[in-house]
């Protein structure tokens, strides 16, 4: 690995956002969307490793069929912690609040988001929610699973469910404020000449994500509030003893939670739609299709929540309706995958780390999406729902898709965020190791699922042990692989080679300002004259 001679670091005094004020106060009370993005980046990294630690313990525990590391009760609290922390404190804020927060004003040619104070308030609400949830975990954790199904969570569980509900309830408002901020910003703060069809797909997918954030999260808030009331007053609307219906809780919960999985994946799709054209040196194939598929996913995503309840006691007719709608929602995702693949045609493909992650995303997301078809087929779902097949399905999409895309975006925009290049060799090694470790962890779980191994099991029949050992081995590789980016990205902040303003020779507006960008992004607001991905024959910036 050639250690770049320490060229002059970007002069410390330059008026870029990173060095504009170095007191703690200047960071904690900043209105600058770039600094808030970094604050979010720190918080979600902390939560990623809390959730990751729980996952590692779970995989260690499952090496033995009879359970050897922890008791059943602790195991239940571990997988609940893994679920709650990963879903609400990493997956949902990861791309929108870090890379999205940083890049939206830059890509729009604006000075900041529409409501900067609201942006900071959103981070504080997120942190407050995080503190409540961490408090719930520290004083004993929750043992209901991240889905909090009643009547177990309301009447029978004796863990600190209410503290976790308060934490997630508060963090929900941070999502709503972020969504609101993005919607208004994308509508009102576009640079002159930046029409809707000249906007990069990343902004479109963040807009679609914000629509879901804004319209789905309130239903989560009311559902958790009703559950908290039922738990505190020992009587509530889901209580079967007075005629309440536990299925109503599932309807309200999944009305939020299925669109929530689209909140998690759409930003990842947006990041990949930026990276593939840049490293294939070719415009995105079928730009309008990819854009309207994102919006279609956001809209149809609200119609399919019933596929979580095929065997839960819902009527057969509702099952048929939701199964059909679930097949329809997977069509736009398929179209996007075909468009990304077609973009590679006749390109000049370079395999830098972001491209490796992006190609990894396409492979793993397609696998995850296809297994979604198994779960939407009613008859197969009766067999595989609530088993490891479902666990493998959503991990392929969340970890294989979203986390890989998050790393892709992180590496792609790292020069712009920190002004320095990450070590290319180490980044490629990490990408390959993550891809290998991930598949070794989660592919055996598909087999386990079809064999009938139910999810959330502390102990299991001995004949499943072979697959569990494989999966745990993969988890060990994955745990190490995820530490590598933390290492070399941290190293690159201080010792990385200074990256010019546009190391990838990309065409987006964010690459037309210095990196790291000045406090107000652009000296003069750029006027946009070209479409987003004009790479052939040679890259033409959007404000050429």
């Amino acid at each position: 690995m050639s250690v770049a001679t320490a060229e002059p670091a970007p002069d410390a005094g330059a008026a870029n956002y990173f060095f504009a004020g170095s007191t703690i106060r200047s960071w904690l009370l900043t209105h600058d969307h770039k600094r808030i993005a970094l604050l979010y980046f720190m918080s979600i990294t902390v939560f990623f490793f809390i959730g990751g630690a729980a996952a590692t313990l779970i995989r260690l525990e499952l090496v033995e069929p009879a359970g050897w590391l922890v008791s059943s009760d602790t195991y239940n609290r571990l997988f609940t912690m893994h679920g709650v922390v990963m879903v609400w404190f990493f997956l949902i804020p990861a791309v929108p609040n870090t890379v999205g927060n940083f890049m939206i004003p830059l890509m729009l040619g604006a000075r900041d988001l529409a409501f900067p104070r609201l942006n900071l308030l959103s981070w504080y609400i997120y942190t407050l929610g995080g503190l409540f949830t961490v408090y719930a975990l520290l004083v004993g954790g929750v043992d209901t699973g991240w889905t909090f199904y009643t009547p177990f969570s309301s009447m029978f569980s004796n863990s600190n469910v209410v503290w976790a509900l308060v934490g997630v309830f508060i963090t929900g408002f941070s999502s709503i404020l972020t969504g609101l901020n993005f919607i208004v910003t994308i509508h009102k703060l576009r640079a002159p000449g930046l029409t809707w069809y000249r906007m990069p797909v990343f902004l479109w997918s963040l807009y679609a994500t914000s629509v879901i954030l804004v319209l789905a999260t309130p239903v989560l808030a009311i559902t958790l509030l009703l559950l908290a009331i039922e738990r505190i007053f020992r009587i509530g609307i889901f209580d079967p003893s007075i005629g309440g219906d536990p299925l109503l809780f599932q309807h309200l919960f999944w009305f939020y939670s299925h669109p929530a999985v689209y909140i998690m994946i759409l930003p990842g799709m947006g990041v990949v739609s930026e990276i593939i054209p840049c490293f294939a040196r070719k415009p995105l194939f079928g730009y309008k299709f990819v854009v309207w598929c994102s919006m279609a996913i956001a809209a149809i995503g609200f119609l399919v929540w019933g596929h979580h309840m095929f065997v839960a006691g819902m009527s057969m007719y509702a099952g048929l309706v939701f199964s059909l709608l679930s097949y329809l929602v997977s069509v736009p995702s398929a179209i996007k995958v075909f468009n990304w693949t077609a973009t590679l045609h006749r390109g000049w493909i370079r395999y830098d780390a972001p491209m490796l992650y992006a190609l990894g995303f396409i492979g793993l997301f397609t696998t995850g999406g296809l297994t979604g078809l198994f779960l939407a087929a009613l008859a197969v779902d009766v067999h595989v729902t609530d088993t490891y097949f479902v666990v493998a399905h959503f991990h392929y999409i969340m970890v294989g898709g979203m986390v890989t895309a998050f790393f892709a975006g992180l590496h792609y925009w790292w020069p712009k965020i920190s002004g320095r290049m990450y070590p290319e060799y180490w980044a490629r090694m990490a990408a390959l190791l993550i891809f290998f470790g991930f598949n070794l962890t989660f592919f055996p779980q598909f087999i386990l699922g079809y064999l009938g191994m139910p999810r959330r099991y502390h102990t299991y029949p001995p004949e499943f042990q072979f697959w569990h050992v494989l999966s745990s081995a993969g988890a060990a590789v994955l745990a190490v692989a995820y530490l590598m980016p933390l290492g070399y990205l941290g190293w690159s902040v201080f010792r990385g080679k200074p990256a010019g303003d546009n190391p990838w020779r990309a065409t987006g507006l964010e690459w037309q300002t210095s990196s790291p960008p000045p406090e107000h992004n652009f000296a003069v607001t750029p006027t946009v004259t070209r479409g987003p991905y004009e790479y052939t024959p040679d890259p033409v910036p959007q404000n050429a």
Binding site: G363, A379, D386
Partner: protein, 332 residues
């Protein structure tokens, strides 16, 4: 490591049908994955940065491609939907001559109750070749009765009866799991389904069977709990006759009729004043909390056995029907 399993045991006709659909889905997935990975590798190598492949910039008509792969995926998905949906509809509707077995899920055990009185914990003996209908309820939280060998599971909800039917075709012992998280010992709340040849099943029933059938146990409970005090033939209190009641429509006070099925009988025992038969005073005491779910099932079985008995001649209601709030009689 014990014997290695690559494919789950299959013990029913429905299981093989689900396997066929699963394999079809696998084939479709490998086709699509092959297409996507193949194209990525092909384009990746042919058009890599340094290669000299021809990239003359003839603009690809994106519309034609887009419409093509959209319609193909849509048609394939609709076909899979209809196949899955049709199989699910058949799984959902039990044949009329099914053998009834009652399952009660309780925090961390399964209790099975056969029609002729046999009770089992965490085990279920069923005959080969006969459709079996499981009428299931839960005493506390949501569980899920899951038998991978039959590719079947159904959640079991408190306060409601859920139905699941199966028809085993291969004798043997198959694992039973609880598939909905229900607390500390959720992973230990399993058991075995023992599928036996019909003759062996009859022998097992006879050997294991207690002296009285479920209906007979129900009748004993009927007297012991004091039901016969009001509903008996020679009772002084005016109460609806239970002979010939099961399965027939019951006119309710305040209009509307309801079929006297298991749910109606269960509700009448546990929440008697929620559905009052027309022409009768609401004086029946509630037994909620005093009797177990199994007792309710036994009483229901007893009432079903009375379904064929001829209803007694309808005695005209006496003029001075007891006023609304007669003190309820404490059960003996």
């Amino acid at each position: 490591m014990n014997r290695l399993q690559f494919w789950p045991q299959s013990a029913s006709a429905a299981a093989t049908e689900v396997d066929h659909l699963f394999i079809a889905l696998l084939v479709v997935s490998f086709l699509v994955l092959g297409l996507v990975f193949g194209l990525m590798i092909y384009f990746g190598t042919k058009y890599r940065a340094g290669s000299t492949a021809d990239r003359s910039d003839e603009h690809l008509k994106s519309w034609r491609w887009e419409v093509a792969w959209t319609t193909v995926t849509l048609l394939m998905f609709l076909a899979l939907f209809f196949w899955g949906g049709d199989l699910y509809a058949r799984l959902y509707r039990p044949p009329p001559n099914a053998l009834d077995i009652y399952i009660v899920g309780k925090q961390w055990m399964w209790k099975a109750q056969h029609a002729d009185g046999q009770a089992e914990i965490n085990e279920l003996h069923v005959p080969v070749g006969r459709p079996v209908r499981l009428v299931m309820t839960s005493q506390d939280v949501i569980h899920s009765f899951y038998v991978p060998a039959f590719r079947l599971k159904h959640d079991v909800l408190p306060g409601r009866y859920e139905m699941l039917w199966l028809e085993a075709t291969v004798a043997g012992t198959y694992p039973l799991f609880c598939a909905e998280f229900c607390g500390t010992d959720h992973s230990r709340m399993g058991g075995r389904i023992v599928v036996m040849a019909p003759a062996a099943y009859e022998r097992w029933l006879a050997a294991r069977g207690p002296s009285s059938t479920m209906a007979q146990q129900g009748e004993a409970l009927f007297r012991q709990l004091g039901c016969s005090g009001c509903h008996g033939a020679n009772s002084t209190v005016r109460a609806p006759p239970l002979e010939g009641l099961y399965g027939r429509p019951v006119p309710l006070q305040g209009g509307g009729t309801v079929i006297a099925d298991d749910q109606y009988i269960r509700d009448s025992i546990l929440l008697p004043k929620s559905q009052i038969a027309a022409g009768y005073a609401a004086v029946m005491p509630s037994f909620a909390g005093q009797i177990e779910e199994e007792d309710v099932l036994k009483l229901t079985a007893y009432l079903r056995s009375l379904a064929t008995a001829a209803p007694p001649p309808e005695n005209p209601p006496p003029e001075n029907a007891p006023p609304e709030n007669t003190p309820t009689r404490a059960p003996r």
